[in-house]
């Protein structure tokens, strides 16, 4: 599924049509509000994002996407009328996967999208993370440990997903809060520890794969 965020109705319809013709599912949104609303229902494989938008602009939307663990991994292609270098730099800095300068042809757009999808989703649409005997399917929202299905709560699932997306990397509690909870917690909270605890408990048949790095945070064994 590809989401297209573009305020101009004609352009938006054209894009959606072009993607559908190329065999992709696609939906169009006229602004950030509608887009984030739809995001709650379904996570797309790719987002086409116009920089110039009424209300919240594309840069801001991209930032919000990148700041939440759930949407962090979604590839984004930025599109803008302004050929200025600055927008390009900012977009790519924030983690846009590619950049299209208007006016662009539909063929070029589809081929760029295909390239990004090929890079980020080898196996076409299979978004399965594997670390050791752990397998997490982001499409199905399921987790298997040595083939056995685990029943995780949302926070546990997202924690695990974050860990599995960067095995070996240490995450501080602040980073975990920022990525999984999405907010900037003030003061101290043991919430993270508790969830790590329950996650470990459910994983305990599988093994001790979430390590604590004393004084720093937690890490998943590579």
């Amino acid at each position: 599924m590809i989401f297209c965020v573009e305020d101009d109705r004609a352009a938006r319809d054209l894009m959606v049509y072009a993607f559908q013709a190329a065999g992709y599912d696609a939906k169009g949104f006229s602004d950030g509000k509608a887009f984030f609303c739809a995001l709650k229902e379904e996570l797309p494989d790719l987002v086409m994002l116009d920089i110039m938008l009424p209300g919240e602009d594309g840069i801001s939307i991209l930032k919000r996407l990148r700041s939440s663990a759930v949407t962090m991994g979604i590839p984004v292609i930025m599109a803008t009328a302004k050929g200025t270098e600055y927008d390009k730099v900012i977009g790519l800095d924030l983690g846009a996967d590619d950049y299209l300068a208007k006016p662009f042809g539909m063929m070029e757009m589809v081929s760029r999208a295909r390239a990004v999808l090929r890079r980020t989703k080898p196996g076409k649409g299979s978004n399965i993370l594997k670390v050791g005997g752990l397998e997490l399917d982001t499409g199905e929202h399921t987790v298997f440990a040595d083939g056995e299905r685990l029943d995780l709560t949302l926070k546990e699932y997202e924690l695990l997903r974050l860990f599995m997306s960067s095995p070996g990397q240490v995450f501080t509690r602040d980073q975990l809060l920022q990525n999984v909870w999405g907010m900037d917690y003030i003061g101290e909270t043991r919430t993270v520890d508790v969830h790590i605890g329950t996650l470990r408990f459910k994983l305990n048949a599988y093994g001790n794969c979430i390590q604590t790095v004393r004084g720093v945070g937690y890490r998943m064994e590579k």
Copy 2:
């Protein structure tokens, strides 16, 4: 390039030096005026911003940075005296990327900066230090000596990281305290010696790579 905005001269120099030792270009500025002046010439990859500043304060500077398209995407780490939670809230609301409570060690500062850079500018956050057969990964918080994993405590790890970031360089005990423990460590103790001792013990299979320079301090063999 990293810009450090900090009014205290000693602290500022220390920060700039620490970044340079870690392989980053860095420049220091004592107030908002000098900082914005330099911004016209060059856009940094990261800004370290003290909240308490003479003239325009850090919050206001951050606001100005975020309000211009050119500087909007520059990541910012705020630094402030401990306990002023209110500032933290405001800073994070305005889009600071991270937050450091004074007093903080230079090692921690560099590692936070690296984390932010890794997130915003992949490629700028290369994070593996190698000296001889020693290998230290700052992202994973792991150390290998001749391929064998070492289990270090936080202080041992940060000491080693400091040494490895400037092999051959002699550090006085004061410098070690300043860098690893924090800017204003109070009282003189033998703490450093003890930690050097335990670090040496854990490294002893690898070799005597941390030498004492009698009357001065310690140094890592190049």
